[in-house]
C-alpha cells in the first residue's frame, strides 16, 4: 500500500511539473491593452496628437444624423421646395410627429454629441497644458466654439419657435451645455431649457471669440479653408444669426466682411461649380466628405437627393416654377427631370460635401437686411442690386420691386431659388413670421402652431424633469 502511494505522489508531481511549465507563459497573454484605441491621456500627449483630436471634432461634425447632411434635409423636407418625402416620415407630415419620433431624436442626439465632442476637446486640451502652443490653442478653441455655435444654430431653429416669436425671444430654446461632464449620471446634467435669446447670445459669444481666434487661411487651402472653421466662416455664420434675430445693422456688418474680402470670397460663373468643386471662392464653410467617410452610407445628401442613388427626395413643381426655365442656370444646370419628377443636381454622389455657408447667401442676407431697414415703403436700390447680382450670375433676368414688402418677398423667393436644399427651407418661413404653406399632400401649418417645431425627445424629458416638452407632443 505504501509503495503505491509513493508511486502516486511521483506521478502527481511529474504531472504538475508538466502543467506548471505551461502555466506562466499562458497567463501573460490573457490581458492585453487595446490596439484599436488610445486613452484620453495619450490622445493629448503631444502637439501632433492634439491636432488630431482637434480634427476629431469635425469627424463628429459629420454626424450621420446631423451635420453630415441630415439636418439640412430635415429643414428642407418641412419646407415647400421638395415634395413630401415618405422616407423621412413623419417629419414632412407635421401632424403625425410624436415625441418618440426617431429622426428628430437622432438629430437632437447628434447635435449634442457634436457639441459634447467640442466641449470634451476644450476640457482635455486645458488639462494637457503646455503641450500645445498658444497660437494653436487659440485656433483649436476657435474651431471648437464655431462647431458648437453651428450645432446650436440648427438645434434652436428645429426645436424652438423662431427668435421673433416673442419680444426679446424670451420663449424656450434648447438646453445650453458648454462644459463636458465628468459625471454623466450626475443630477447636474439635468439642465433646463435656456430661452431662445440666451441660446442666440451664446452662439454670438462663441462666434465672436472664434472670429478673434480663427485663422483667415490654413496651410492647406485646397481643403481646410472651406472644410475647417475660419475667420470668414465665423463671420458668415454671425451674419446669418443676426439676420434671423432681425439685427439688421450687425447682419450687414458681418455680411460685408465676406462681401468686401478683396476677392477671397465671391461667386463662380456657374452656380453648379460650387457643388462639384468644393473649395472654390464661393464656399465659405462646408462639412467635407470623401470616399473614406463610410461610402456605404445611407445618410449622405447625394444618397437622398440623387435619382441615381436612393433618390428619396424630389423637387416640387412649385419650386421649379419660381425660375425662368429657359434662362436660369439654376434650373438649366441644377435641376433634372427624370421619370416625371424634378430632381436637384446639387448633390449627386455620396462623397458630396454638405454646404453650410455660401457667398450668395451673404449677398442675400445683406439685401434682406437693407430692404428691411429702408424707411416707409422705400425700395432699397442697393438691396435690389445685390439680389440681381445673384440672379445675373445664373443668367436670370433682373428683378424690380414695387414696394418694400414686394422687395422683401422677392428676396425671400430668391433665397429659395438660390439656397434650396441647403437647409433653410422651413426656417425661412418661420423666421419671417410665416407658416408653412400647403404643399403636396401636406396641409398648411400656421405660424406659431405646435407642429412647426420638432418635439423634445421623450427619451430626454423622461429622464430630465427640468426639461419642458414642446407643447402638443
Amino acid at each position: 500500500m505504501k509503495k503505491s502511494y509513493n508511486k502516486g505522489t511521483y506521478r502527481a508531481i511529474l504531472f504538475s511539473v508538466l502543467i506548471g511549465l505551461g502555466f506562466s507563459s499562458c497567463k501573460k497573454q490573457l490581458f492585453e491593452e487595446p490596439l484599436t484605441s488610445l486613452s484620453p491621456t495619450s490622445a493629448f500627449e503631444t502637439a501632433d496628437r492634439v491636432e488630431k483630436a482637434a480634427v476629431g471634432m469635425y469627424d463628429q461634425l459629420q454626424n450621420a444624423n446631423y451635420l453630415g447632411g441630415r439636418v439640412l434635409i430635415y429643414a428642407d423636407v418641412r419646407g415647400t421646395d421638395v415634395n413630401p418625402a415618405s422616407y423621412f416620415n413623419p417629419l414632412p407630415q407635421f401632424t403625425t410627429v410624436t415625441a418618440n419620433d426617431g429622426l428628430s431624436a437622432g438629430a437632437w442626439a447628434g447635435a449634442y454629441r457634436t457639441i459634447g465632442e467640442a466641449n470634451l476637446f476644450l476640457k482635455n486640451m486645458a488639462a494637457a497644458g503646455s503641450v500645445v502652443s498658444a497660437a494653436k490653442s487659440n485656433q483649436y478653441t476657435g474651431e471648437a466654439k464655431f462647431i458648437r455655435a453651428l450645432s446650436y444654430f440648427y438645434l434652436v431653429n428645429l426645436f424652438a419657435q423662431p427668435y421673433k416669436f416673442t419680444t426679446n425671444a424670451t420663449h424656450l430654446g434648447v438646453p445650453l451645455v458648454l462644459v463636458s461632464s465628468s459625471a454623466p449620471f450626475d443630477a447636474a446634467n439635468q439642465v433646463s431649457r435656456s430661452t431662445v435669446a440666451q441660446v442666440y447670445d451664446q452662439m454670438e459669444a462663441d462666434l465672436k471669440d472664434a472670429e478673434a481666434k480663427l485663422p483667415v487661411d490654413y496651410s492647406d487651402p485646397a481643403f481646410s479653408n472651406v472644410a475647417r472653421a475660419t475667420k470668414g466662416a465665423a463671420r458668415a455664420l454671425l451674419a446669418r444669426i443676426y439676420l434671423y434675430k432681425g439685427d439688421y445693422p450687425n447682419a450687414i456688418i458681418y455680411a460685408n466682411y465676406i462681401i468686401n474680402s478683396s476677392g477671397k470670397y465671391g461667386m463662380n460663373a456657374n452656380p453648379l461649380t460650387a457643388f462639384r468643386t468644393f473649395t472654390t471662392k464661393e464656399s465659405i464653410f462646408s462639412v467635407a466628405h470623401n470616399g473614406g467617410d463610410n461610402p456605404n452610407t445611407n445618410n449622405a445628401l447625394g444618397q437622398h437627393y440623387s435619382p441615381a442613388q436612393r433618390g428619396d427626395i424630389n423637387v416640387s413643381n412649385e419650386y421649379v416654377a419660381l425660375m425662368d426655365q429657359t434662362k436660369d442656370l439654376r434650373f438649366l444646370n441644377l435641376i433634372t427631370s427624370v421619370s416625371n419628377n424634378y430632381w436637384t443636381l446639387k448633390y449627386t454622389l455620396v462623397t458630396d460635401w454638405a454646404p453650410i455657408l455660401r457667398y450668395p447667401e451673404m449677398l442675400l442676407i445683406k439685401a434682406e437686411a437693407l430692404a428691411n431697414q429702408a424707411t416707409g415703403t422705400t425700395v432699397s436700390t442697393e438691396a435690389l442690386g445685390l439680389v440681381n447680382e445673384v440672379r445675373l450670375r445664373s443668367l436670370a433676368d433682373p428683378i424690380s420691386a414695387t414696394s418694400k414688402t414686394d422687395l422683401i418677398d422677392k428676396i425671400l423667393i430668391e433665397r429659395r431659388i438660390e439656397l434650396a436644399f441647403e437647409g433653410q427651407g422651413s426656417f425661412d418661413y418661420l423666421r419671417t413670421g410665416r407658416g408653412i404653406p400647403a404643399h403636396g399632400t401636406v396641409v398648411a401649418q400656421a405660424y406659431g402652431s405646435n407642429n412647426v417645431i420638432l418635439p423634445i425627445p421623450f427619451y430626454e424629458t423622461s429622464k430630465n424633469p427640468n426639461l419642458v416638452p414642446n407643447p402638443g407632443y
Binding site: A54, T95, P184, D293, A308, N341
Partner: protein, 1054 residues
C-alpha cells in the same frame, strides 16, 4: 479482447464464489435503439450484491440463488430494466438509451455526476432526439425538450440564429444567451458570424458548425446548484454539449442518410392582380378623385395581362440531402468515434442554400490504469448562399411581399431578361403601364426590387469554417484522486462575400457594381487544470472535492475589402485591374477597406466540496473566482459562491414501507452567478479612436468608460423535488426558482445633452427578478413485450419584474420599439396607444386617449387629429398606455412527447407550446400601407360607404397614419405546434442477419406538421429582433415562415 474476457471471467469467479450456487442464467443485452449488443452492462440479482457485467458481445452468464425473483440490468447512458425470472435459464434484455434513470449520469462542470447525487436543477436531452430533426443547428431542436428552456426562432432562412432563453430573460442590455460548453470547453460566444449590414443582413449562427449527428447528449444547467463551477458565467444558464465517444467493445460503422423536402408552412395572403388594381385605384380616387393609376401590363409579351403570385416565386420546395458516415468502437485501452458528413440543404426561399462538410475524430486511450488521455478534433466548413429578407428593400420578404402582382418577373426585352427598370431610377421592378405620380405627388412609398432578379444577379454568401481541437490527460495517482489537464481551441473563420450588380438598384447600381468581402478570424483557447477527489469513509461518509483553474483567451480580427466600378459586369470578384474604385462620374476613390481587432482574457479559479451521508443527505459548497479583462482594472475579479443540499427521503426508514413512491428527493440551492457575456473587451475604458475627417487624420472619443464596471451578479435560488412513483414508471421533477439580478450590466442611457458617444455608458445599474416553476413528468404508460408507450411532458412558468433602473435618470424607462423596461413591470411591457377602430360615419381611424374613453380621430382630409366634436387635438406619447402584463416573452411554455413502439416499429409525437406573450404584427401593418404596392388581402375589408362596419379604415393614398404603432397590431402569441411526427421501422433481426448488416432502420418524419394558434400572422414562434433586444422580443417583422419538412431517413450499421 482475449484479456478482457479473461478478466471478466476472473471477475465473475470472484463475484460468484462467495455465494451458494444454484443455477446459471445466461443471456444477451441489446440496445433498444439499434439492436446491437451492449457490453459492460451490470446484471444484478435484485435485492442482492450478486452480479456480473456483460462481455464485449453483450452476453452474460450469472449464477443466481434459488430464491432470486428478478434480474436488474443497468448501464451508464442506458436505463435500468428489471426482468422477473421464472424457471427459464436464458434471459435477454433490451435497454433503452432514452429512459430516465437514477444511475444515469449528468454532465456538470468539470466532471460528471449521477442523477441521484445532483443537488441542482438540470435537464438532459439525448442526442438522437436532435439528430433526426431537419435542422441546421442543435439549438433549434431544443424547443420543448427541456423544462425551463425556451427557443424563439427568427424565421425559416437557413442557419439563421435563434434566441435561447433559460428561465426567462435575465438581462436588459447584455446578452441573455446561455453559456455553451462543448466537451467541457466553453464555446465561442459570437452569436452571428456575419457582419455586413450590421449583422442584420444574412445571418449565420455559428452553432450550425456543430454536426447534430455528433451529439451524444445535451445537459442544461439551470440553477446555481447545477451550474456550480460555471458560476461566473451561469446567469443565463449553461448548455453542456457532449459529443459521441467510442464505447468499449462495439466496433460499428454507421451510414446515416436523410432526404428532406421543405416548404413554407404558411405564406402571407396578399391581393391578387384584380384586387390589387381595385385597391390601389381606390387609394388614389379616395384622395384625389382619380385618375386610374393601377393598370394591366403585358411585360412578358405573352399577349395576356401579367399576373404573378410572388409568393410562388420567392418560396419553393427545398430539397436536402444529408449523409453522415461514422465509425465507433473501442477496447479496454482505447476507444474511438469518427464521423464525416456532407449535406446539401436547400431552403424554402428561392436561392437559399447551405453546403456543409464536416469531419470529427474523438479518441481516448488508457495506456496504464492510472493515466488516460484523448483528443476531440473536428472541422466543419459551410458555404451559405444567403438571401436578404426582412429589413432590406432588396430583401425577399420586402420586395416579394410588396411587388405588384400585375407585372411580370421576366421581360424578354429587359436587362438580362428580367423585368427591371432601364431608365433612372435603374434596377427596380418595372411597373409597366402603372402610373406612380399624381399631380406631382409620388405614390411610391418605398421602391420595390424585383426579388428574383435581385437573388439571381447578386451574391450574398459566406463561408464559415470551424476547427475545434481539445486534448486532455487525466491521471489517477491514488485511488479517488484524479488530476486532469485539458486544453482546447475553438477557431472560427468566416469569409463574407457580397456582390451588388449594376443592374439592380442599390449600391451596385450607384457604384457600377460592388463587391464587398469581410474576413473574420476568431480564435479562442481554454486551458483547464483541475483535480477531483472522491472518497467514501466507513461506507457512509462520502467526500468529494474539486479544485482547479481555467484560463481563456479570445481574440478576433476582421479585415474588410471592396471593389467597385467594374470594367464589365462579367467581373464580379476583387480582381486586380478590373475596377477603378471610384464612383462613376467621379475621381474620388472610395475607401473600401477596413478592419478591427480585439482580445480578451478570463482567469479563473474554482473549488467545490461535497459531502454526503449514506446516500441520503447531500451538501455541497462551491466557489469560483474569475477575472475578466473587459471590466475595470480594480473590479475584474468576481467571486461566485454557491451552496446546495439534497435529501433522499425515500432512503429513510420511515419511508421504506411506502407502496407508491419508489424514490423521493428534495433539493435546494442558493448561489451567486455572474454574467459577462456581451460585455465588450474594453468596456470599462474611456477611449479615443480613429476619427478621420475626409482627407485629414484625426481621432475622436469613441467610448466613455466606467472604471468601476464589474460582473453582473444574479442571486439564484432553487428548490425542487424528484419523485418516482409506481415502480419508477412515473418520474416527476418539479422546481421553483427565484432569480434576483443585481448590478445589471446596462448600456445605461445617458441624457443626449451630455453628448457622450453612443449616448450610453456600460454600467452596473438596475435590478430585475425572474421567478417561476417547472414541472417535468416522464411516464412509462405501457411496457409490454411487443408494445410500449412512454410520455414526457414539461411545463415552465416564468414571471419577470424590473426592480430598478438608472436612479439618476429619474428611473426613466428604457424604450425599445414600443416596449419598455419600466420599474415594477415585466421587462418588455408594451406601451402603445389604444386602437379604437374605424369611425363608421367617415371611415377614419380612431384611437383612445390615455383615459381609454376619449376618442381621437384622424381626419384624413384635414390631416389632423380631432376629438369627436371636431376640435383639433394631437396623438402622442401622452396617449400611450402601459399594457400591463403584456410582453413579447412567453410566460409559460413546454413540450409534450410521446413514444410508441410496436415490435420493430416506433412512432413519436413531439409537441411544443408556449403562451402568455403578445406579438406585435409589423408584417401586417407594413402590408396595409396606402402607397402604391401590394397589400395583405385583409385590406379588402376596408371602409367604403357601403361597408361602414369595417376593420380597415378608408383607403387614402399616401396616408399611413392609421398604421402607426398601436394596439391594433398587438395579438396574443399562444400556440401549440406539432413539432415532429416520426415513424421508424427497424428491420427484423432475421432479415438483418440475412443481409449481413448489424442493423437497418428506415424512418419518416414530418417536421412542423401543424400549428394551432389564434395569431393571424404567418407563425407565432417569431422574434424578428433575435438576440438584438431583450425588450422587443415579440416583433414579427416580415420573418420568413418556418418550413414544414418531410424527411426520409435510412440508418445502416455494420
Amino acid at each position: 479482447m482475449k484479456k478482457l474476457l479473461q478478466s471478466l471471467f476472473i471477475l465473475l469467479f470472484v463475484a460468484t464464489s462467495a455465494i451458494a450456487q444454484n443455477r446459471t442464467i445466461t443471456g444477451t443485452v441489446t440496445s433498444k435503439e439499434d439492436g446491437l449488443p451492449i457490453p459492460g452492462v451490470s446484471v444484478k440479482v435484485k435485492g442482492t450484491n450478486i452480479g456480473v457485467s456483460t462481455g464485449a458481445n453483450g452476453k452474460f452468464s450469472l449464477s443466481v440463488p434459488s430464491n432470486a425473483t428478478a434480474l436488474e440490468f443497468s448501464s451508464l447512458g442506458f436505463g435500468t430494466q428489471t426482468i422477473t425470472i421464472g424457471s427459464e435459464n436464458v434471459v435477454n434484455a433490451s435497454l433503452s438509451g432514452n429512459s430516465k434513470d437514477l444511475s444515469e449520469i449528468v454532465v456538470v462542470g468539470y466532471g460528471v455526476k449521477s442523477v441521484k447525487d445532483m443537488t441542482g436543477s438540470s435537464a438532459r436531452v439525448s442526442g438522437n432526439k436532435l439528430a433526426e430533426q431537419p435542422i441546421e443547428s442543435f439549438d433549434k431542436a431544443l424547443s420543448g425538450k427541456a423544462a425551463g428552456v425556451q427557443i424563439s426562432s427568427s424565421g425559416g432562412t437557413l442557419a439563421d440564429g435563434v434566441a435561447i432563453r433559460i428561465r426567462g430573460v435575465n438581462s436588459i442590455s447584455t446578452s441573455s444567451l446561455p453559456l455553451v460548453v462543448i466537451d467541457g470547453i466553453p464555446a465561442n460566444t459570437r452569436e452571428n458570424l456575419n457582419t455586413f449590414n450590421s449583422g442584420n443582413g444574412t445571418r449565420f449562427d455559428p452553432l450550425a458548425l456543430l454536426n447534430p449527428n455528433d451529439i451524444e447528449s445535451i445537459d442544461v444547467l439551470k440553477d446555481a446548484g447545477a451550474a456550480v463551477l460555471y458560476g461566473s458565467r451561469a446567469a443565463n444558464g449553461v448548455i453542456l454539449v457532449t459529443t459521441k465517444k467510442g464505447k468499449q467493445g462495439t466496433n460499428k460503422i454507421t451510414f446515416d442518410s436523410k432526404v428532406n423536402f421543405a416548404s413554407a408552412s404558411k405564406v402571407p395572403n396578399l391581393l391578387n392582380g384584380d384586387q390589387f388594381n381595385m385597391i390601389n385605384n381606390e387609394k388614389v380616387s379616395n384622395r384625389w378623385g382619380g385618375p386610374v393609376v393601377a393598370k394591366d401590363s403585358d411585360i412578358d409579351g405573352d399577349g395576356q395581362p401579367d399576373r404573378v403570385d410572388w409568393m410562388k416565386q420567392i418560396f419553393r420546395t427545398g430539397t436536402t440531402y444529408d449523409n453522415t458516415a461514422s465509425i465507433t468502437g473501442g477496447t479496454d485501452k482505447s476507444s474511438y468515434y469518427g464521423s464525416a458528413r456532407y449535406a446539401d440543404q436547400n431552403g424554402i426561399l428561392y436561392g437559399n442554400k447551405l453546403k456543409s462538410g464536416s469531419a470529427r475524430i474523438n479518441l481516448d486511450v488508457r495506456p496504464k490504469d492510472w493515466i488516460k488521455g484523448g483528443v476531440e478534433l473536428s472541422f466543419t466548413k459551410i458555404l451559405n448562399y444567403g438571401v436578404l429578407t426582412d429589413g432590406f428593400l432588396a430583401g425577399a420578404s420586402i420586395a416579394g411581399y410588396n411587388a405588384a402582382p400585375t407585372v411580370a418577373v421576366f421581360n424578354p426585352n429587359g436587362v438580362k431578361g428580367y423585368n427591371l427598370t432601364a431608365t433612372t431610377p435603374i434596377g427596380y421592378l418595372g411597373l409597366g403601364n402603372n402610373v406612380t405620380t399624381v399631380s406631382g405627388t409620388s405614390l411610391i412609398g418605398n421602391r420595390v426590387n424585383n426579388p428574383i432578379a435581385t437573388i439571381d444577379l447578386q451574391r450574398n454568401q459566406n463561408t464559415a469554417e470551424n476547427l475545434v481541437g481539445n486534448v486532455y490527460i487525466e491521471i489517477q495517482p491514488i485511488s479517488g484522486l484524479r488530476i486532469t489537464s485539458k486544453y482546447g481551441i475553438d477557431y472560427q473563420k468566416n469569409f463574407e462575400d457580397q456582390y451588388s450588380s449594376p443592374y439592380i438598384a442599390g449600391l451596385g447600381q450607384s457604384y457600377g457594381g460592388l463587391v464587398q468581402d469581410n474576413l473574420l478570424d476568431r480564435n479562442q483557447w481554454v486551458w483547464q487544470n483541475y483535480a477531483t477527489y472522491d472518497k467514501t469513509i466507513a461506507n457512509v461518509h462520502r467526500i468529494s472535492a474539486t479544485v482547479g483553474s481555467e484560463f481563456q483567451r479570445t481574440s478576433e480580427k476582421q479585415i474588410y475589402a471592396g471593389a467597385n466600378n467594374f470594367s464589365d459586369p462579367f467581373f464580379q470578384y476583387i480582381i486586380d485591374g478590373t475596377y477603378t474604385g471610384s464612383a462613376p462620374g467621379s475621381s474620388d476613390i472610395l475607401l473600401w477597406s477596413g478592419g478591427t481587432l480585439f482580445s480578451n482574457g478570463l482567469e479563473s479559479y474554482f473549488g467545490r466540496l461535497g459531502y454526503s451521508y449514506n446516500n441520503k443527505y447531500f451538501v455541497e459548497g462551491a466557489l469560483r473566482a474569475d477575472a475578466f479583462s473587459g471590466f475595470g482594472e480594480s473590479n475584474r475579479w468576481g467571486k461566485f459562491p454557491s451552496v446546495s443540499a439534497g435529501w433522499i427521503l425515500s432512503e429513510e426508514s420511515f419511508f421504506k414501507k411506502n407502496k407508491y413512491v419508489d424514490y423521493a428527493k428534495i433539493r435546494g440551492s442558493y448561489g451567486l452567478v455572474g454574467n459577462s457575456r456581451g460585455v465588450g473587451s474594453y468596456a470599462a475604458r474611456t477611449l479615443y479612436s480613429g476619427g478621420a475627417y475626409a482627407s485629414l487624420n484625426g481621432f475622436s472619443s469613441s467610448q466613455l468608460g466606467n472604471a468601476d464596471l464589474k460582473w453582473e451578479t444574479s442571486k439564484k435560488f432553487n428548490i425542487g423535488a424528484d419523485v418516482n412513483f409506481f415502480g419508477n414508471r412515473l418520474n416527476l421533477v418539479t422546481d421553483y426558482f427565484n432569480t434576483n439580478i443585481s448590478g445589471l450590466i446596462l448600456a445605461a442611457p445617458v441624457l443626449y445633452t451630455v453628448g457622450v458617444p453612443g449616448s450610453s455608458i456600460t454600467t452596473n445599474i438596475g435590478s430585475m427578478k425572474n421567478s417561476g416553476f417547472e414541472i417535468t413528468l416522464n411516464i412509462t404508460n405501457i411496457v409490454k413485450k411487443d408494445f410500449s408507450w412512454t410520455s414526457s411532458i414539461n411545463y415552465t412558468h416564468v414571471k419577470n419584474e424590473v426592480l430598478s433602473l438608472v436612479a439618476s435618470n429619474n428611473n426613466a424607462e428604457i424604450l425599445s420599439s414600443s416596449t419598455v423596461a419600466h420599474v415594477g413591470k415585466p421587462l418588455g411591457t408594451y406601451k402603445l396607444v389604444q386602437w379604437a377602430g374605424v369611425q363608421q360615419s367617415t371611415g377614419y381611424p380612431m384611437w383612445y386617449a390615455a383615459d381609454g374613453k376619449t376618442l381621437k380621430i384622424w381626419n384624413q382630409v384635414s390631416q389632423k387629429y380631432e376629438f369627436e366634436n371636431g376640435t383639433a387635438t394631437t396623438l402622442g406619447a401622452a396617449d400611450q398606455v402601459y399594457l400591463d402584463g403584456k410582453t413579447g416573452t412567453p410566460t409559460f411554455y413546454g413540450g409534450f412527447d410521446n413514444s410508441f413502439t410496436y415490435k420493430d416499429f416506433d412512432l413519436n409525437f413531439s409537441i411544443v407550446y408556449q403562451g402568455g406573450n403578445y406579438l406585435y404584427n409589423t408584417t401586417f401593418s407594413g402590408l396595409l400601407v396606402n402607397s402604391f404596392q401590394n397589400n395583405d388581402a385583409r385590406i379588402l375589408d376596408r371602409w367604403t360607404p357601403t361597408n361602414t362596419n369595417a376593420s380597415i379604415p378608408k383607403l387614402y393614398s399616401m396616408d399611413n397614419t392609421a398604421n402607426q404603432a398601436s394596439t391594433r397590431f398587438l395579438e396574443k402569441g399562444d400556440f401549440l405546434r406539432m413539432r415532429t411526427i416520426s415513424l421508424g421501422y427497424r428491420l427484423n433481426k432475421r432479415w438483418v442477419d440475412r443481409i449481413g448488416v448489424a442493423s437497418l432502420r428506415v424512418s419518416a418524419q414530418v417536421y412542423n406538421a401543424f400549428v394551432i394558434t389564434g395569431y393571424s400572422g404567418i407563425d407565432p414562434e417569431v422574434n424578428s429582433n433575435r438576440n438584438n433586444s431583450n425588450l422587443a422580443t415579440g416583433f414579427d417583422n416580415r420573418a420568413i415562415p418556418q418550413p414544414r419538412t418531410y424527411s426520409l431517413g435510412l440508418t445502416a450499421t455494420f
